[in-house]
Amino acid sequence: MSEFLAMGGYAWYVWMSYGAVALALIVETVIVRARRKRALDELRMMTPGSSPVGRMRGAR
């Protein structure tokens, strides 16, 4: 396991690359999902009584 993490002496370069990609993609996913949730929440608040949100299904 420690041999795997050492990456033949290139650990810094390999893990900085893979780590940055993983971090960036996870952060973007979280941001995109939060934005969609916020947009739908605001839409719900704007339209009391009516149900346009029902038509806007498909969001998770």
Binding site: F4, M7, G8, G9, Y10, W12, Y13, V14, M16, S17, Y18, A20, V21, A24, L25, E28, T29, V32, R33, R35, R36, R38, A39, L40, E42, L43, M46, T47, S50, P52, R55, M56, R57, G58, A59, R60
Partner: protein
């Protein structure tokens, strides 16, 4: 079976479809990324000359390809948006820009961390690297332009125009390694040198690229859903107003 495709050019009818797509491609992206990482970090053997540093190729090449692909797709949507004054096309272009910027940044970042152990430098003003940096600036320019213009329809046209003008940079990036004497190597995938080794490498790169494609589609679809809700709010509100009025008319004795 006859499908009325024009129906989906309307944001409200596209919305649920985008939700299904975002979910499905999200799952596919996770599966491909899992399989790709397994090949990249476990199955693929250590390179004879570069050691394990070469493994950066499995994240560098897919992100660099995506940075270029996303720009081409964005330019395509922009052309449709300008040519047909299509609202949803402009929204798709808008939804792709942040992910394109991210991919360009990641391509530069992983390139730097691959360049240091192999070339001895994190950065050089090499043609490929400089043109990729310009690609990142183009993405950031499109994003900044969008934020600078209040009216979304005007922003659509301005961003589409900037995107199309900037498209000239994509072939420059692609052919930079042939046109100029660059520090950056030529085509990464070679079937002529060490074929057995290349086969595993190519497989790994292709699976990781599939993951990057699926990820980009999923994120862009989820983002376009937000954009539709944010921008069509007024229209939805208007629609429900009309519905209310209809009820009132129906109830009142004629």
């Amino acid at each position: 079976m006859l499908i009325n495709w024009y129906r989906f050019s309307s944001p409200v009818s596209f919305y649920p479809l985008a939700g299904i797509g975002a979910h499905a491609f999200g799952i596919l992206a996770a599966l491909c990324a899992g399989a790709g990482l397994f090949v990249a970090l476990y199955i693929a053997p250590t390179d004879a000359t570069q050691g394990d540093a070469y493994r950066i190729i499995y994240v560098h090449v897919p992100t660099a390809w995506m940075a270029m692909f996303i720009y081409v797709v964005m330019a395509g949507w922009s052309a449709l948006a300008l040519g047909f004054n299509a609202r949803l096309s402009a929204m798709m272009a808008q939804a792709l820009a942040p992910t394109g910027a991210l991919m360009a940044a990641l391509a530069l970042w992983t390139g730097a961390f691959w360049g240091r152990p192999t070339w001895g430098t994190y950065w050089a003003w090499d043609a490929r690297m400089t043109s990729t940096l310009i690609l990142l600036f183009l993405y950031l320019g499109v994003l900044a332009l969008r934020n600078a213009i209040e009216d979304p329809r005007r922003a659509d046209r301005a961003c589409a125009l900037l995107t199309l003008v900037g498209a000239v940079n994509v072939p420059i990036i692609y052919f930079s390694v042939q046109w100029w004497n660059t520090l950056h190597q030529g085509s990464s995938i070679s079937f002529t040198v060490a074929p057995k080794m290349a086969a595993t490498m190519v497989t790994g790169i292709l699976i990781m690229t599939a993951a990057a494609w699926c990820y980009t589609i999923a994120v862009a679809l989820a983002r376009v859903q937000s954009i539709i809700v944010e921008r069509e709010r007024g229209a939805t509100w208007l629609e429900s107003l009309i519905d209310l009025r209809r009820n009132v008319v129906r109830r009142s004795p004629a």
